[in-house]
Symmetry: C2
Subunit: 346 residues, 2 copies
Amino acid sequence: MDPRKLAPTLRDVATLAGVSTTIASRVLNDDPVVRVRDETRARILEAAATLGYTPHGVARSLRTSRSDAIGLIMHNLTSPMNTTVLDGVRGRCAEAGYVTLLADSEQLATDSGRLRSFLARGRLDGVILHVGHGYHDKLIADVSRHVPAVLVNSDGSGSVPTARLDDVAAGRTATEHLVALGHAAICFIGGPAEAITSLGRQRGYEEVLREAYPDARVDVISAGWTDELGEDAARQLLSRPQLPTAIVVANAVTAAGVLTVLRQAGINVPNDVSVVGIHDAWFAKHLAVSLTTVRLPLFELGAMAADLLLSTLAGKPTPMNALIVDPPPVLVVRESTAPPRPASHA
Amino acid sequence: MDPRKLAPTLRDVATLAGVSTTIASRVLNDDPVVRVRDETRARILEAAATLGYTPHGVARSLRTSRSDAIGLIMHNLTSPMNTTVLDGVRGRCAEAGYVTLLADSEQLATDSGRLRSFLARGRLDGVILHVGHGYHDKLIADVSRHVPAVLVNSDGSGSVPTARLDDVAAGRTATEHLVALGHAAICFIGGPAEAITSLGRQRGYEEVLREAYPDARVDVISAGWTDELGEDAARQLLSRPQLPTAIVVANAVTAAGVLTVLRQAGINVPNDVSVVGIHDAWFAKHLAVSLTTVRLPLFELGAMAADLLLSTLAGKPTPMNALIVDPPPVLVVRESTAPPRPASHA
DNA sequence: CGACGCTGAACAATCGATTTCTCAGAGGCT
DNA sequence: AGCCTCTGAGAAATCGATTGTTCAGCGTCG
């Protein structure tokens, strides 16, 4: 009824093959140092096969002090962007033979008991933290005190290796597109004020704006990463006497909220206002107006974070900062951007 | 430099407190059977605190044959629906003191080595499988042979406890709405042909349609769970001589694709065609036309799956089927549905 | 006064695999 | 014949915690 109770151990294999666990272990692990008669080796392999032997991961971990597991602490898994990063991490770790444990940053940050049990010694070889805006210094410190850690798109104050998107380039790409179309009154709707990714994108926006119009007005609204906060930001914009002619939104989810509120207010995108969002998420083409975006290499970001950690675990020297520049930001033009309407002289 | 090497063991605590590891362990675990002098107990607790002792999870697992970890095998984590299920599972497991290991069903199904290392004996107390359409019988069998398993929204042929949404009710709710508006020519765009969730929703659709119009034509198109497949289905619809007046789409992501293609073709939603999507995802309100949806309790689905597994692990009797009926399907009306245009006599 | 029962705590086995030694025997060499 | 060197393999320690069993000491009771 329950074959789990009967799971064969190494000893069972050894007994069946008529050898000691020592050689059985060596043969099954392809120990290069071992010297075994071919005939013995064959007997062991056959015994393992007949029994359907699977090594006991926990016992092995205890002995070798490796768990082949890495922890992934993430915030807001509901965001499609974060899921893509997750995929990148998971893919690379799986290739390297590691399994991935997932935890939620909010829970861990507030419940130290849970953090302890997540980190319980020996269970994790390393941890990747993707915790969003910088509220989590303590969490980062707690984790990295216990196991090797790397950060993703977060501010680690330089104490922990970090993988980052090229946010400045992303902000530049978005803004350059609008400037090229002829826009000058461009607003930037950012993420949370403290988020370093948002700040980077904002810097790209400011750079391009200043380069094009030395005395242009930098016009920034802090929103957040959700569609609701995008709606709020758009309403704030609508309450002004005059709208900008174009908007850079630091995040596509936020941009979805912006577009919806503009539509509800009867503002025509792109004729009245152009909108560019950062992150070419799948839903961009399906929004109220299909959204022009800047595609960033999120999967590669996750993979790079995994690489940083794996390289640390392998004892190789690891850079403290990895900026993902390889697929550079790519502009994906859709319907939400157009040249500004010629000034009406009426 | 590296305090990890020095992580204190139970023996260290015992030595510092001047006792044996036996009592140290018993005191630290609040063993109810133990009899200890209060003074001794205090010494042990103090020693543990000074040393910053954390139990070694792996060693404990080996001894107790419990890992306090459950595995979650999922397909298509990019879907916001699946992420919500994931949140439900993770939340409930965390409450119960379990950590969650995540793996991808496609990878595991194709790479048996990876599956083995994921399941490596002793590492997981149980597994929750959310593998979508029924391609994965072998995976399910492989997993459940090794550890207790439960299924989510999948077809397990009754051998494994399964948590399910009330798909029939969802299909009914969507279709009833359209019938109430006066529609009769209603098309159903489903998921993959084998997906039991899609089949359930389709059955709800057929039931309501037949109840309202005994000789109505059941009109079903098989698509899939992605926006691209929704686009394909919509194009297929457009190639017909006559469009239906309303469409039920088995999934909101698919519906996004449908709406976009209809918009591109100049079809007015809801005036020419009404559309209802199942799953009230966040993006529904931001689509080409804001989408009327049926909200299903996805978080609760995940939580229920976790409950099934936890109850099995606790040795309690566990139902083989759990249908989530508690928050029933809720219709969320937006702009994509309206009464059919009166037949034009022109 | 000796057997008995508690109290408080230690001993030692165990979980399953890895790994460092150790070692018997065969064969080669002088 | 005696010594050495390989070859092939086993014995036993170890990883860190849990737990069934044992045990010393002390008070009690008949």
